[in-house]
Structures are given as C-alpha cells and as structure tokens.
C-alpha cells in the first residue's frame, strides 16, 4: 500500500492501457484477468524473488488497479521478477500475472525507466545480434571440440546481422532505447 505521504493523483486509465497494450499480443480475456485479482497472496507465496527482496507481485496488481502509476512502473523492484511463471500457474483467479509483468515493463521502458545493465544488453543485441556474443576463449574451445570456430549464426554471416540491425530500427525498438 502506498504511504499517505506519497499520495498521488491516480491514473484511472492505467488498467485500460495495460489491457490495450497486452491485447496486441495476448488474448484480451487473458489480459483482462488483471481485474480479477483479489489480493489473496498466492502469487507472493511462491515467488523466489519475493522471498529475498522488496518485490511483492500482488502489490503491483493493487497499484495498477488503483491507478498508482508511479508505484507500479517506477519502482525498481519491478525488475526483480525472474519470469518463472510460478505465480501465473498457481493463481486461483487465473490472473495472467507474469505476462502482465512483462507488459508493465514494456510501458516502464517506454517511459524511460530502465536499468543501465539492461541498456548494455540492448547495445550488445544492436551491435552483434546476440545478447551474449562470442569471445576468443570460446572460439578456441569450439576449435578443440571439432566445431567450426565461428558458429553458423549472425556471427558468421554479416548480411544476416544487417537484417537484424535493420529490424531493430524498423520496429522502433532502437529509437525507444536510445532516446535519452
């Protein structure tokens, strides 16, 4: 629950925004389950990050339902979720919990709330087409194992890497990440 000292003007369009954005990718009726949350806490009970951090997934749903946008999106603990789906599997009201976390993170990124390490991961994708690009040490291991030194991925084919670079621009993703 937000503290009294942090009371903000609720964004009463937040729920619909989440449902609208999520419905592009997921069935609308699944995203709408957001409204079915009764704060029972089954989700928190099975959450591996919740055991050791300030992350309480149930609170995210409360904040969204009440329109407390800053609490829902700015709070760094939104990024503690490992997307393990334990809560989504166990939710008694069948709320699409984990995927709604991904939708909320999409909105957070668009608003510029992004971890610096995550920006670095994006840079790797933009440059190499891989979040974990190859290095000299692995190339040597590959050679010893009798595999091609460079795998048959975008690492081997510059024209394939160009396709990926083209797409991250066309989707608007690169611009979204780089705007600051």
């Amino acid at each position: 629950m937000p503290l009294l000292s942090k009371i903000q003007k609720p964004n009463n369009k937040l729920v619909e925004e989440v449902i609208g954005r999520g419905s592009v990718f997921f069935p609308k009726e699944d995203v709408q389950t957001l409204k079915a949350c009764i704060q029972c806490g089954t989700c928190v009970g099975g959450c591996p990050s919740g055991r050791r951090t300030a992350w309480r997934i149930r609170r995210i749903f409360l904040n969204v339902l009440r329109g407390f946008e800053d609490e829902a999106l700015k709070d760094e603990s939104l990024w503690e979720c490992t997307t393990c789906y334990t809560c989504q599997e166990r939710c008694l009201r069948k709320v699409m919990t984990t995927d709604i976390v991904r939708i909320l993170r999409n909105i957070a990124v668009e608003k510029g709330y992004m971890n610096k390490n995550h920006l670095r991961v994006c840079e790797l994708l933009f440059k190499h087409g891989h979040a974990v690009p190859i290095n000299e040490k692995t190339m040597e291991v590959r050679r010893k194992l009798g595999l091609d030194k460079v795998p048959p991925t975008v690492h081997r084919y510059p024209e394939a890497l160009n396709e990926v670079v083209f797409l991250v621009n066309e989707t608007g993703f690169k611009l979204k990440i780089k705007r600051d």
């Binding site: 591996p48 971890n115 390490n117 891989h130 590959r142 396709e163």
Partner: protein
C-alpha cells in the same frame, strides 16, 4: 534419418559449445540429425527482450523461425529461453492473424515471410518421445551407477503450461526419467522446481538477487549429497556454473557442484569422453563427478 533444425541461440555456441557438440553427437548416435540454421540471432530472450518491447521481440523471433521454415524442418533447442521465445512467438502468430500480417510487412523488406509451418521442440522431448527411454537404455555402455543427480528443469521448459503442454509443472518427471534410465539416481532436494535465478533480466539487472537464488538452489543440491546438477537449459547451466564461481569469490567458501547438460550426461553413459563432451571446459571442475564414475 529424422532431422531437425538446431537453433543455437547465444549461450550454447558462444559460452558452452560443449552443449552444442554433445547434443549433435548424442542425437546422431540415435539416428537423429541436427542441421545448422544459418544466420540466426538471439532468440531474443523472452524475459529480457520480451520485457523491454514485445513487438521487437516478436519480429526478431519470427525472423529466426522463417529460417527453419525455409529448411522445411521443425526447430529444436538446448536453451529454455530459446524454447520459450520461439514456441511462444509461434503460438502468438498462429492465434493473431492480424499481427502475423504486421510482422510479415516488416519481414518482407528482408525477403522473408513467416508462414507458421514448423513446430518448436525441446531436445529433451526428442530424446523422450522420438528416441525413447528403451532405446536409450539399450545403448548405455557405461551405466552411471552410484551417481546422485540433482535434476533442475528450468522454469521455461514447463511454464506457462498451457503453451508448453507437458502437464502439471508442479511434479514433472520427464528429465528425472531420462537421468535414471542411464543408471543414475535422481535425488529429491529442497526447492527442486525453483528458478535458477537468472531469468527475466535478473542476472543482468539484479545480479545480487540472481546469485542469492542460485545459492539456495546449489546449497539444497549439496545438502542432498548430489554429485552434479543436470539441466536442459544453457542459461540455467551458465547460471549454476558461473554462479558458483561468483559465490566462491563472494563468500570465500568453495562451491564445487559439477554442472552437466542432459546430453553431456547421456554422452558419458554412451561412453563418450568428458573431454570430447566439453565437460572439462566448465568453470566448476567436474572432477568430483568423474571420480564417482570410476568407483
């Protein structure tokens, strides 16, 4: 010979090529050919790039899938992240026609079209369903008797269960069965089905949290007197292997549980050397496990 398009992803070829080699080699032993997919990128990671921007995630995943479609082969993977992304993207695109059209309007600019003609199958599904436990059992030349294995499924192999289709994620057995058919014993341990800690961008964004989860998992495995942890996921594999190096540095206590990919474990039972399987290239020494194999 049954063939699949092998989607490598990032971590398998770029950090743990032993997984790549042993998977190709073990399946070849069972008459299954894994063909390279030329020009694939990051899948992209479901909880990382999916968390950042679902639209971009979907478009890049669709591009990867088209490469297998052009080969006319179903896709197989050795990373639960790749499995989640490619299978989920396939699922979304097959259920949202208007979205497929939008994706294709971009893909056409690079002369590709998503058609929805291939399935995404995890390599342990091939071993369990297409090859079968009996066939594997009959081919074992070095039974892994006395070896105690802590099985770790990895979240995205099982969940979300409505898309994965492996039944209840609360008590899976497929990986335990694959381990036990080799003569090893799958031991129960605390929080067996808990996450490795790495997913959802947590390894990159919240490394302390990721490592704390890994610590709980590894300690529970050690408490159960496991000789190794066996995974079907390159990312969990990396998290357990590198994670233990990080834990040792942080706590000054040595964490030394060998980390073995399922096809590396099968390779050992088929008589392939640990060196050829790439097991000696792990960060955490597998010596403990190899000693146990000799007894």
């Amino acid at each position: 010979m049954k063939a699949y398009a092998y989607f490598l992803g990032c971590i398998t070829p770029n950090r743990y090529p032993g997984i790549e080699y042993s998977t190709i080699e073990v399946l070849k032993n069972f008459g299954v050919e894994l063909k390279p997919m030329h020009g694939t990128s990051c899948c992209p990671a479901p909880g990382v790039f999916g968390s950042f921007d679902l639209w971009n995630w979907l478009v890049l995943a669709a591009r990867n899938i088209t490469i297998a479609e052009n080969m006319g082969l179903d896709i197989t993977v050795t990373c639960n992240g790749c499995y989640a992304t490619l299978q989920e993207a396939n699922h979304i695109l097959q259920h949202k026609r208007e979205l497929t059209e939008k994706v294709n309007s971009l893909l056409r600019k690079i002369n590709k079209t998503y058609r929805g003609t291939v399935k995404v199958i995890h390599v342990i599904e091939i071993l369990y369903n297409a090859v079968g436990l009996e066939t594997i059992k009959n081919r074992v030349v070095k039974p892994l008797n006395n070896v105690r294995v802590a099985v770790h499924y990895g979240c995205h192999f099982l969940k979300p269960s409505d898309i994965r289709g492996h039944g209840s994620p609360e008590k899976p057995t497929i990986l335990d069965e694959l381990v036990e058919v080799l003569g090893a014993q799958s031991v129960d341990y605390k929080d067996k089905l808990m996450c490795c800690g790495a997913g959802g961008g947590v390894r990159a964004g919240k490394p302390e949290t990721a490592l704390d989860i890994t610590k709980d998992k590894v300690e529970a495995m050690l408490d159960a007197e496991a000789d190794c942890v066996v995974t079907p996921c390159a990312f969990c594999h990396l998290q357990f292997d590198r994670g233990q190096v990080e834990l040792t540095a942080k706590t000054k206590h040595e964490y030394n549980l060998p980390v073995v990919f399922i096809t590396q474990l099968i390779g050992l039972a088929l008589g392939i050397t640990p060196e050829k399987l790439g097991l000696l290239n792990n960060e955490v020494s597998v010596e403990r496990l190899l000693k146990k194999l000799k007894t």
